[in-house]
């Protein structure tokens, strides 16, 4: 790893013992809390976060400072900050890695962010499967509290904060922020109708901000170095660094902190990052931002339809819209080489969304079931040409017609797989015997990289 790269979140990740308060503190940890509560007003912290241009790292990319400025502040009503550590989007494992590796970074971020928002009780909601991480965070909280960084009258500033970790129970939908709040209230994770938005009526019907683990973890650096310094990294509206969860057929899968704006080509092939595709194989397709975003064939991933180098930014990955582009999403970068079957993977994702639909809206509940069934049929050699159009039709009927974006998230992978890999679907239908042989993969006209 080259050392000149600015690391905002992971600079100290390799230091032995960094998960302990003592070592974290020795390497400059908690200075942002000191600076914020002793020398800044809450509004001044919000202002720095606004200037940083940092965008929500949970998937939607909404500017964090702007979200914070929407928080309602009625007199005498508590406000809450809830951190979204549900991380269940297939392909995404950066929050898991960050929380277990440098737990104090998130705790420090929660303190400065809660201070900025005027919250006196805050929660970190962590998916229940990560119970060992819940324990790591609870230990870190206890250490921070013992050192006076949490609890009553933090560092003598008069500011009080209690921080708790809440485990989920196993449900992808609880990553959706209003489902998460329902779950935190001890209910089923059914997304709420919006408006009202959480900024007005969130946890216990009080004004609430929900932010992703990685988003919150940027705030100590922003407080220490200023929003402008953060905004100086990256390109255009894609400021700062981003954690990318790289999985699939890469030489070096893992979690990487990249400055936004490097080329996709560099990210995949440079030894500094993924080191290329595993030996003897070639890149076929990538899902660049978690299972919900459109899949792209290698050629369109590396270069936009206009022939420009594709960059790791919100804008460049989305260039061309859904016709030829995709989204940065949560940064779940799933690389597939020529041994991967697109139909099988699309069926797998459809099964996932059907399984995870909360069932409140009929287009999502029924539509995801239909898509799974039809894809299963095609993958197992019983499909018809009409099925391909049926899939496109069902995906269109789900899109935009549901309470929460899970419906869209289920529709996009299917629609994009058909858009870019229609030949492969047709091959399964025309040559079922060949296509259902174990390990069989379409080797038709396909540009590999």
């Amino acid at each position: 790893m080259s050392s000149e790269r600015l690391k905002i979140l992971t600079a100290n990740a390799d230091i032995p013992g960094i998960e302990t308060f003592e070592v974290y503190r020795k390497h400059g940890g908690y200075t942002a809390v000191e600076k914020a509560v002793k020398t800044m007003t809450p509004d001044a912290v919000v202002e720095e976060v606004k200037k940083s241009g940092v965008r929500g790292r949970g998937g939607a990319g909404f500017p964090m400072g702007m979200k914070w400025s929407f928080l309602a502040k009625p007199e005498g009503v508590p406000r809450y900050l809830v951190c979204n550590g549900d991380e269940s989007e297939p392909g995404t494992f950066k929050d898991h890695w960050l929380m277990k590796t440098i737990p104090h970074l998130l705790i420090e971020g929660m303190i400065v962010s809660s201070f900025a928002l005027g919250a006196n009780t805050s929660y970190i909601y962590v998916r229940g499967e990560l119970m060992y991480v819940v324990k790591i965070l609870e230990k870190a909280i206890a250490e921070a509290k013992a050192a006076g960084f949490l609890g009553k009258n933090i560092l003598g500033s008069g500011y009080d904060l209690e921080l708790y970790v809440q485990p989920g129970g196993g449900a992808y939908i609880c990553g959706e922020e209003t489902a998460l709040l329902e779950s935190l209230e001890g209910k089923r994770g059914n997304p709420r109708n919006k408006p009202p938005f959480p900024a007005v009526k969130g946890l216990y019907q009080c004004p609430t901000v929900v932010n992703n683990v990685e988003s919150i973890s940027t705030t100590p650096w922003i407080v220490n170095n200023g929003g402008e310094a953060y905004a100086a990294v990256g390109i255009g509206r894609s400021t700062g660094t981003k954690l990318i969860s790289a999985s699939g057929h890469l030489k070096k899968p893992g979690v990487y902190e990249i400055p936004l704006g490097i080329t996709v080509n560099e990210f995949i092939y440079s030894d500094e990052w993924c080191g290329g595709i595993r030996d003897g194989h070639h890149l076929k397709a990538v899902v660049a931002g978690g299972s919900s975003v459109p899949i792209l064939p290698a050629a369109l991933l590396l270069k936009t339809a206009n022939g420009e180098d594709r960059l790791m930014t919100y804008e460049s990955l989305a260039d061309g819209g859904f016709a030829t582009g995709t989204m940065l999403g949560s940064g779940g970068f799933i690389a597939m080489d020529e041994t991967s079957c697109i139909v099988r993977n699309t069926w797998n994702f459809s099964r996932f969304y059907h399984h995870e639909s909360c069932g409140q809206c009929s287009p999502c509940r029924e539509g995801t079931g239909w898509m799974e069934k039809v894809l299963h049929r095609i993958e197992h050699g019983h499909g018809s040409m009409h099925d391909i159009d049926l899939l496109v039709d069902v995906s269109k009927k789900i899109e935009g017609n549901t309470i929460c974006p899970l419906g869209d998230a289920a529709a996009w992978p299917v629609a994009s797989a058909i858009r870019h890999f229609r030949d492969e679907f047709e091959w399964h239908i025309k040559f079922p015997q060949e296509a259902t042989r174990p390990g069989a993969v379409y080797r038709g006209h396909m540009e590999l990289a």
Binding site: G128, S183, V255, N348
Partner: protein, 165 residues
């Protein structure tokens, strides 16, 4: 009057932990403790039985139905008895393209149980689950709180043989 001791109750240490969890929420919002308390009782009992759910309802002063509807919504609560070790393996795309299909097929054969089943010796229950947020370290499974990553057929053999001891 005969006061019957409930058939299920928290051990003293867990009772203390449960009481501490209740303090995490504002007055009157103790229902928020439901998910953590269900984890706690399942950790103790091995599964989330109807008696366990009734006990938690009683503990929180809510209706039993409020517990049932939550316990059935989330996938982590085992509503049937399970073997000593519950192996929850990730069946989602990224783990599958990394060789998950072969590895999990081997796992099931080795244990002698299919999805949702418990092995004849009652040692293992196999549950397929969705993405465990470990995609770059797949294929993977988890047993209770422990993650087992970068699985291969050889590694599965080692893990299972060790657990059988």
């Amino acid at each position: 009057m005969i006061t019957e001791k409930p058939r299920i109750q928290f051990t003293p240490e867990r009772l203390e932990r449960a009481r501490e969890i209740l303090t995490h929420y504002p007055e009157g919002k103790q229902k928020s403790a439901l998910l953590p308390l269900l984890h706690l009782i399942q950790e103790q009992e091995g599964w989330t039985s109807p008696e366990a759910m009734d006990y938690i309802a009683d503990f929180l002063g809510i209706k039993p139905i409020e517990v049932y509807e939550v316990a059935t919504f989330y996938t982590m609560y085992h509503l049937e008895p399970v073997g000593k070790h519950v192996i929850e393996y990730c069946r989602t795309g990224p783990c599958m393209i990394m060789g998950g299909e072969e590895v999990y097929a081997h796992l099931k054969k080795k244990i002698g149980a299919d999805d949702g089943e418990t092995s004849p010796d009652n040692l293992f229950t196999i549950k397929p689950v969705e993405c465990l947020a470990a995609c770059g370290w797949g294929p993977c499974f988890q047993i209770r709180e422990k993650y087992y990553t970068h699985l291969t057929i050889e590694k599965v053999d080692e893990i299972i043989d060790e657990l059988k001891k």
